[in-house]
Every structure is written in structure tokens, then in C-alpha cells.
């Protein structure tokens, strides 16, 4: 049986949970249990039961609210012992990254993170020895097929966007929902979290932008940001950046696109000197038309670009501004 750990906050499921269910259905659609932890789990259980899965299990416990890695590890350790899955699948969110390696280490089981696809060996069909999980390595320059080792359950986390929400097969009727009781010693929880907050209310909502010009390390220095600004103006685009540019303070954090910044899907996304680290790609790969200008022909950004120019952005961008005037 495959166990999917869904992620919800205040009774709202994230998209990545649905994507993970789509991944589970690829792996083995015959026996999937979706577990949803935390207060208000019951309110999203009915929603999840619409998917073609065997059952939905809710786990509510004081130690799960608010989220802490210690609380989640203890509660899910008990739930897994009761359910006995062969695989535990999770979305590769910041929250999963915070607790899933600990949970796998506690159980002394394999965990393959940031998976983008499943490869089943055609010879013998399913069965865990025949399944490889595909994941990026070396900043996306290489891809690896990885087989988890040792006894089950094997933990797998899926990269955001690896599967699409609309790939989830719906069931002919609602899957049964039940509550699972877990035993957690509350004194095991050592982290004491405060309420989440937003640093600065985002003044720029990049998610609404129709066109975005985005700059990365290839811009080299702060003074060069101006040429990207000029191009953005000529295109009627918003200016955005990859994380290193905002870390350096060359553009404000609110203009950052990627897993730690905003997720965007404009009609046009023009990436200037952005190599295309996974953390950036997950924030923009839903864009309609992607253009990459980069001096490195092997930059991973070219793998998802519709149009690419391999060359010096300091020559190409002024030429584009010129061409746009015509």
C-alpha cells in the first residue's frame, strides 16, 4: 500500500498534495491511502476522498498543531507503524524537507527527495525492486535514476510541478474516510513556533504580471540591472530576479521568483543570465512562453525554454531594445 501524506493549513490543501496523489497513482493505483495530519484535517478529508484512492485517514493530535518536526515525526511514526505502507510519498515542500528526513532516519529507511518522475522496469511490472525514481543532481546539470535500498517503507518526495493536479484520477464514488488515533508524548516536542508572518507586504504582485524580465547571476553587478530594467520597460514587463540577486540586495526580496519567492505564470518569461537551478524553475516553469538568454549552452534553463539565445546578454539585450523600437 502507498501512503500519501497530504499537506494542509487551516483547512486548505496545497496543490502539491494533489500532485503527489497523481504521482502515487502512477506508481500503483490499486492501493493508495491518503493521510492528512493536523487540526482541521477532517474538513479537507472529504475533498481528498474524491480522488481514486482506497481510503483517506485523518490524524488529529495536539502535538500536530502548530506544525513542528518533532510532533510530525512522532505522530507519523506511529501512524506508519499502524498502516504498514510499502511507500510513503510526500510533496517536496519546505515543511516536508523539515521533518521527512528525520522520520525516515528514525525508522532507518530510505528517502529519495525532489523526484520528478517514476520509471518502472517494463520486464516485471510493479514491485519495488523494479522502480527507479528520477531526480535532478548537480544543480540540474545531470539527472539520476535512483533506486532506494533496504526494507520498506521507502520515502519519496516529489518536486513541485512533477505531476499536474489535473492528472489526478477521480473515483467513481467517494473513498471512505476514517480517523486514526496516534499516541504521541507531547514532551517529545522541543520546538516552540510562533505564528507565521510576511516580512513586507508584497508591493509587487508578480503573479499577475503578463510579461516578466528576470535577471540572474549572469548580470554580474548591480549597476547592470539597469539594462534589464530598460528591456522590461520596452517589453511592458515587470522586473524580477533569481534568489542570488535578491540575496545580494540588488533587487528587493519581493521581486524574487522561485521556491522561496513568488510563483509566476506570465505569458512571457524572459530569463537573463539565469542558469535555471531547480529552486528557480519551480517558480516559473508554468509560464506560457519562456525565453532564455545565457552564455552557457548547457545551462538547465534551456531545457524548459521555448526560445533560447546562447550569447552575451550585454550585447543581446541592447540589440533587443533596438529591435523593439522598430
Amino acid at each position: 500500500m502507498i501512503l500519501v501524506i497530504a499537506e494542509q493549513k487551516d483547512g486548505r490543501l496545497n496543490r502539491a498534495s494533489w500532485e503527489t496523489i497523481a504521482g502515487a497513482q502512477q506508481l500503483d493505483p490499486s492501493a493508495i491511502t491518503v493521510l492528512v495530519p493536523g487540526a482541521s484535517a477532517a474538513s479537507v478529508a472529504a475533498e481528498l476522498a474524491a480522488a481514486n484512492v482506497s481510503e483517506v485517514v485523518t490524524v488529529e493530535h495536539a502535538a500536530l498543531n502548530p506544525y513542528t518536526p518533532d510532533g510530525y515525526t512522532a505522530a507519523l511514526q506511529d501512524a506508519i507503524a499502524q498502516l504498514g505502507p510499502t511507500h510513503v510519498l510526500l510533496p517536496h515542500t519546505y515543511q516536508t524537507r523539515d521533518f521527512a528526513p528525520k522520520l525516515a532516519a528514525r525508522l532507518d529507511r530510505a528517502i529519495v527527495t525532489d523526484v520528478t518522475a517514476i520509471k518502472k522496469s517494463p520486464s516485471t511490472g510493479s514491485g519495488q525492486a523494479d522502480v527507479a525514481f528520477v531526480r535532478p543532481m548537480f544543480q540540474g546539470k545531470l539527472t539520476a535514476d535512483v533506486v532506494p535500498q533496504g526494507p520498506p517503507p521507502h520515502f519519496v518526495t516529489f518536486q513541485i510541478g512533477a505531476y499536474r493536479v489535473d492528472q489526478v484520477a477521480k473515483g467513481s464514488s467517494s473513498a471512505p474516510v476514517r480517523a486514526l488515533t496516534v499516541n504521541v508524548d507531547a514532551s517529545q516536542v522541543r520546538q516552540n513556533p510562533e505564528a507565521p508572518f510576511q516580512q513586507a507586504k508584497a508591493a509587487v504582485d508578480l503573479s499577475q504580471a503578463e510579461r516578466i524580465v528576470s535577471v540572474g547571476r549572469g548580470i554580474k553587478e548591480q549597476a547592470n540591472i539597469k539594462i534589464a530594467e530598460d528591456l522590461a520597460r520596452a517589453l511592458g514587463a515587470e522586473l524580477a530576479a533569481s534568489r542570488p540577486i535578491c540575496d545580494s540586495g540588488w533587487l528587493p526580496m519581493e521581486r524574487q521568483v522561485g521556491s522561496s519567492g513568488q510563483t509566476v505564470a506570465p505569458k512571457l518569461y524572459l530569463a537573463l543570465g539565469i542558469s535555471g537551478a531547480i529552486q528557480h524553475l519551480v517558480g516559473m516553469k508554468g509560464s506560457n512562453t519562456i525565453v532564455a538568454i545565457n552564455k552557457d549552452p548547457d545551462a538547465p534553463i534551456f531545457e524548459i525554454a521555448d526560445y533560447g539565445i546562447v550569447g552575451d546578454l550585454f550585447e543581446i539585450v541592447p540589440a533587443m531594445i533596438e529591435a523593439l523600437k522598430q
Binding site: P69, D145, G150, Q198, S275, E303, I316, A319
Partner: protein, 254 residues
């Protein structure tokens, strides 16, 4: 305060990938290496905490002989001494093997605080820090953007997705994984480089290496998911052709 910083040596950003004959790992002989960027931020944060609270910073790395390069660099930037768990098998080890090797070498040191980068630029598991915390039996928190030590307690700012943050308190000892950009990095001075030569690097053997938890069966250059039109020509020609395609073909600009 006794602070450990776990650092990894990874191929440089400019490195062009080449595979070895087994097609399950890279040709290391062709690669040039540097300190994993998030680990460099973890080191800087440790040095700042030491400047504020006193104590020592011990840099720990698990890898083959070549990782001595980044250990020396960390010592030159200001770390006081180092522990090198040396084993050729650690070059391509998974996160469990690496964390187990580090934990065994670090256990008796009784560190107050262990910092490391949130993930490595090579295999990118984002697991070692968290698994290490479990093996050392300490609490942890990940993707940290601010660290305050208040007596025997920590108060840290954890980054959440989409521009959200959260403060978390926990007792020491603890393990934190540090996000890039938490601080401004310092570089080694000539004086630091000279001083580093006299600093202790304790070699530890990777005793009873734990069994790998994952196996790379194939490593390859990614297949392109999309058909990318590469536009060639001089910068002026390529720029003009691109603008025309964006107008007439993609119809995303006027």
C-alpha cells in the same frame, strides 16, 4: 559556545558535467571543486556567533582527501580547528551515510550548536542536517535566516514558502540548516591563510560505514522536455529574430 559547521566540497558552478565509465557518477578527475555555497553561509553565521558569544568554531567535513581544500579555506576564514572524516567512498555517499559518518565523529565533542547549509549543490538531498540532528538526538530547524542565542535557548527565523517566515524557539544543543543569503560572506585574509596552516585537522575514519540507503543506477544529461528553438547569428541578428518570433509566432508582445 562550541559550534560545529558541517561543510561539503562540491563541483564549481562553471564545471561542465562529465560522466565516469560506470555512468553512475561523475569523472572527478575533470572537476574543479569549491565550498558548497549554503555551507559557506553557515560558516559565516558560526563565525559571527563566536564573535558575539565567544567559544570556538569547529569545521567538520566528510569526504575523500580532496576536501582538505575547503577545510583549509574554512580555517583561513576563521574556524579554529577541523574534523575530517576521510574516506573515498564518501565522495558519492547518500545523506544517511554522510550524516552517520559525521555523527560518529562529532558525538563525543558535545557541540552546543551545529550549523550546515540547507542543501548541497551536488546531490541536493536537503537531508544531511536533519538526519544528523536525529542521530545526535538534538532538536533542529531548517532553512534558517536569523539565529539568536539566548542563554541555553535558541530563537531562529525559519523561512517558509512564498515570502513567509516564522520564529521558532528551542533548547540547545540543536542543529540548524542555514539558507543562502542569511549574511554577507567574509573572505580569507592573508593573515588568516597563514594562521590556518597551524590549525589542527583531526582525521577520523569512517568507521563501520552504514549501508547505503539509495543507489544511483544511471546518471545522464537531462532529456529536454521542450523543443527549444535556439536562435543563432550575431547578437543583433539573434535579437531581431527573437523579437520577431515573440511578436508573430508566440504573440506575447506587440
Amino acid at each position: 559556545m562550541k559550534i560545529a559547521v558541517c561543510i561539503k566540497q562540491v563541483p564549481t558552478r562553471e564545471w561542465q558535467p562529465r560522466l565516469d565509465d560506470s555512468k553512475t557518477w561523475i569523472r572527478e578527475a575533470d572537476a574543479s571543486f569549491e565550498m558548497n555555497e549554503p555551507d559557506a553561509y553557515a560558516l559565516e553565521e558560526a563565525l559571527r556567533l563566536k564573535e558575539k558569544h565567544g567559544g570556538e568554531v569547529v569545521v567538520c567535513s566528510a569526504g575523500p582527501a580532496r576536501v582538505a581544500q575547503v577545510i583549509r579555506e574554512a580555517l583561513a576564514r576563521g574556524a579554529d580547528r577541523a574534523i575530517h572524516v576521510e574516506d573515498d567512498g564518501l565522495a558519492s555517499a547518500d545523506a544517511f551515510v554522510t550524516a552517520s559518518a559525521l555523527a560518529a565523529a562529532m558525538q563525543d565533542e558535545k557541540f552546543d550548536l551545529v550549523l550546515t547549509g540547507l542543501q548541497s549543490d551536488d546531490q541536493g538531498f536537503a537531508q544531511v542536517g536533519v538526519v544528523l540532528a536525529e542521530k545526535l538526538g538534538t532538536p533542529h530547524s531548517t532553512i534558517i535566516m536569523e539565529v539568536h542565542v539566548e542563554g541555553s535557548n535558541l530563537r531562529v527565523k525559519r523561512e517558509l514558502e512564498g515570502g513567509w517566515f516564522q520564529w521558532i524557539a528551542m533548547p540547545l544543543p540543536a542543529v540548524l540548516t542555514i539558507q543562502s543569503g542569511i549574511n554577507q560572506l567574509r573572505y580569507a585574509t592573508l593573515k588568516g591563510i597563514m594562521a590556518a596552516k597551524k590549525k589542527e585537522i583531526r582525521k577520523a575514519a569512517a568507521l563501520a560505514a552504514s549501508a547505503p540507503k539509495q543507489k544511483i543506477v544511471s546518471l545522464y544529461v537531462p532529456e529536454k522536455g521542450k523543443k527549444t528553438q535556439i536562435i543563432s547569428g550575431s547578437p543583433a541578428e539573434a535579437a531581431k529574430a527573437l523579437v520577431q518570433k515573440l511578436r508573430d509566432e508566440a504573440r506575447v508582445i506587440q
